[in-house]
Symmetry: C2
Subunit: 348 residues, 2 copies
DNA sequence: TGAAATACTGCAATCGGTTGCTTAAAGATC
DNA sequence: GATCTTTAAGCAACCGATTGCAGTATTTCA
C-alpha cells in the first residue's frame, strides 16, 4: 500500500490500460466515452480509493466552484442566517464557500478581498464593513469579470447586483405605525449613514415625520454601533433628559440596541409601551423574548443568502446575467408586537 | 493591456530578464535571493498587477492553507461565535476557512467531508451531526494524516484532538445548585445521548441526584432536539401533569428550550422560580433577556473556535503535535441568575 | 463495395507556481 | 595564484487534471 502518494487518474489509467484523458472524461460522465468504459473507470476509482484533486482541476479549467463570502461579523443572528441560506444554496449547486469577516474594519476587508481573489473564487458575496469608504479593493474582480454580489450593506456599482430590502419603506412604515399609536416625539437610534441600511432607515423615519407634519428633532437622533452597550447608553441619555423632553417612542435600527435600551429603562421604572413605545429592526430571537415583545421588521437572512447565491450561480452558469440586474429588493414585514401598542391591548 | 490572460511569474521574469524560479523565490522572500533582486521583483509585481494563483501553488507544494469546518448548523448563536473565533485565529495565521453545514444529517456530513477532502484542506474541524453514528467518512483524512479536530460534539479517536468543556461537571454543578435551592423534583430536557454533550449533561444531572439521595424519575426526563418548539412542548407536558407530579425545577440542556418552556409556563400562570426554577446551558443572548434572567452555563464559543484552530495550526506548523493531545477541556462557568433563585432575592 | 459519417479513445500541450540540483560568479584562505 | 566556500540565480522536472486535435475502429448509406 503506497501510504504517501495520492491516487491519481494515471493510476486508474494504468490499472485499466487506457489513457488518463479517457479516465478524466469518464469520471465526468462525458458521453463521448463508452458507457462500459465509464463503468469500468468508476469501479476502478472506487477500488483504488481515488479522490479527485480539486485544484489540479481548477488550475487547468479556470474555475474553482468556490464562492467567497465577506461579511462584517460572523456572530450575529442575522448574519448567521444569511450564511446558512448561502451555504444551502451553494451546496445544492455543488459550490463551496470560503468565509471571512472584516470585523467592521475596511483595511481587513481589503486584505480578505485580496485573499479571495488569490484563491480565484468564482464569485464574491460581500456585505461592507462599517467604515468602508470606497470599493477600490474590488477592482481586480471587476477587471477580471468575476461577478460580485453585494447584500444588505451594499454599494452602488453598475456591474454588480445588490440584494436588499426596502429599508426606507420599512422604516417609514414603522414610524408611521408609531405615529398612529399616538407617538409624537419619536427617537431614532441609527447607525453609520455611510451604510445604505442606516441611511435609508433614517430617511424613511424622517420622511414619515415630515408627512405627518411632525418636527425632526435633533436631540432625538442618536447614532452608534447599535450594540448592547449602545442601547444601554441610549437609555441613560433618555433618563438624563427632563421628563417633558423625553421621547414617547424609540425606533431603533436594530433589535439589540432596542432591547437593551428597554431593559435599562424598565429597570428605571419606565413603562413600555405606556411611557415609551418601542420598535426595532431585524426580528432577532431576543425580540420575541423581551417583555413586552418587540415590534420589529422581519426580513429573512436565509432568503437574502439564498437569493444572493442563487443569482450568482445562475450567472456563472450562464442561465442569467447579473450585469443586467442592478438590484433585487426582497420582501420585509412589519411585525407589530406589544412594545408599540399604546392603543390596543398588547398581545404576544 | 491583455484583458484576458493572468499576470504570472513568467511575465515578471520576462520583464526583469530573470528566471521564473527566481521570481517565485523572491516573492516568498527567500533569503537565497539577493535583497535588491527581491525588491525589484516586488516592484515589478505591483506594477504589473500580479496576483498569485493559490492553487497553482497548492498543486505543487501540497498544502492549501485552507481549513475545512463542518458544523451541524450555522445559524445558532453558539456556532456563530465558534466560527467567529475560528476565522479570527485562522486569519491571523494566514489560513482560510471553507465552511459547510450538515444540517444535522449524517449523510450530508459525509458528502461535505468528501468535498473538503477533495479540496485538500490542510486540516478539518468538525462538530458532529445529531445522528452521526460512526466516523468512517473521515477515514480518508486519517489515512493521509490530515489532522482532524473535533469540537463540542466530539468522537473518541486516538489520532485526533477534541475540544470540549466538562459537560458532566457543569451539569452536575447546576443540578447541585438547584438542589441547594430546595428543588427535589428536577426535570431534565436533554438531547440525543449519541452526542457526548447531551450524554454527559444527563450523566452529571443524574449523578448529582444520586449523590443527594434523590430519585431519578423517568417522567422527569424528556429528550428532544431542544428547539423552540421542543421547549413549548415540554411546557405543555408539564402543564398536563397533575400539579403534585410537576417538577419544581427544570434543567434544560440548552437555553432555547429553557426559554420557550419558561415563556409558555409563564403564560399559563406558573411563577418562576417560585413554582418552578429554571436552568439552561450556553449563555445564549436570550438568557439575559428573558424574565427572570436564566441561570445557565457560560462557555465561550469564541474560545472553542480559537483553541481548535490554534491547536490545529500549531500542529501543521510542527510547533506541537496533535496526536499527543487527546483532548482539551475548556473552562465553563455556572452563571446564576434569578430563574433559579428560590431562596435568595432575585437579581438581574 | 467503397466512401463518408459516427463513436471512441489517445497524444501531448497546458494551467502557474515550486523545488532539487546544477552552474556561475564572487569572496575567503593559505 | 590555486583551491575551497559562499552567495546568487537558472534549468527543468513536477504537481494532477483538462482539452483541442488527431487517429482508429465501427457503422451507415448510396
Amino acid at each position: 500500500m503506497p501510504e504517501n502518494r495520492e491516487v491519481t487518474i494515471y493510476d486508474i489509467a494504468k490499472h485499466l490500460n487506457i489513457s488518463a484523458a479517457t479516465v478524466s472524461r469518464g469520471l465526468k460522465n462525458n458521453p463521448m466515452i463508452n458507457k462500459n468504459t465509464r463503468k469500468k473507470i468508476a469501479d476502478a476509482a472506487k477500488q483504488l480509493g481515488y479522490q479527485s484533486n480539486t485544484f489540479a482541476s481548477s488550475l487547468r479549467s479556470k474555475h474553482t466552484h468556490t464562492l467567497g463570502v465577506l461579511v462584517p461579523r460572523l456572530n450575529s443572528y442575522f448574519m448567521s442566517s444569511v450564511l446558512a441560506g448561502m451555504e444551502n444554496a451553494a451546496n445544492r449547486h455543488g459550490y463551496n464557500l470560503i468565509i471571512a469577516q472584516s470585523l467592521e474594519d475596511a483595511e481587513k476587508e481589503k486584505l480578505n478581498a485580496e485573499t479571495m481573489f488569490n484563491k480565484r473564487v468564482d464569485g464574491l458575496l460581500i456585505s461592507l464593513s462599517y467604515n468602508t469608504q470606497h470599493i477600490n479593493h474590488l477592482e481586480p474582480f471587476f477587471k477580471r469579470k468575476i461577478p460580485v454580489v453585494f447584500f444588505d450593506r451594499v454599494y452602488p456599482h453598475n456591474e454588480s447586483t445588490s440584494i436588499v430590502i426596502n429599508n426606507y419603506g420599512a422604516a417609514y412604515n414603522i414610524t408611521q405605525h408609531l405615529i398612529e399609536q399616538g407617538c409624537r416625539r419619536i427617537m431614532h437610534l441609527g447607525g453609520n449613514v455611510l451604510r445604505n441600511v442606516y441611511k435609508d432607515r433614517l430617511d424613511g423615519y424622517r420622511q414619515a415625520l415630515n408627512d405627518n407634519r411632525l418636527p425632526v428633532i435633533q436631540q432625538l437622533y442618536l447614532t452608534s454601533n447599535l450594540s448592547e452597550q449602545a442601547g444601554i447608553e441610549a437609555a441613560r441619555y433618555i433618563l438624563d433628559m427632563a421628563p417633558d423632553d423625553r421621547p414617547d417612542a424609540v425606533f431603533s435600527a436594530n433589535d439589540t440596541a432596542a432591547v437593551y435600551c428597554m431593559l435599562t429603562l424598565k429597570a428605571a421604572g419606565i413603562r413600555i409601551p405606556e411611557d415609551i413605545a418601542f420598535a426595532g429592526f431585524n426580528n432577532d430571537p431576543i425580540s420575541k423574548v423581551i417583555e413586552p415583545n418587540l415590534t420589529t421588521v422581519d426580513y429573512s437572512g436565509d432568503t437574502v443568502g439564498n437569493t444572493a447565491v442563487t443569482n450568482l450561480i445562475n450567472h456563472l452558469k450562464g442561465d442569467s446575467n447579473l450585469y443586467i440586474t442592478n438590484s433585487i429588493t426582497l420582501r420585509s414585514d412589519l411585525v407589530i408586537r406589544a412594545s408599540s401598542l399604546k392603543k390596543q391591548i398588547a398581545r404576544n
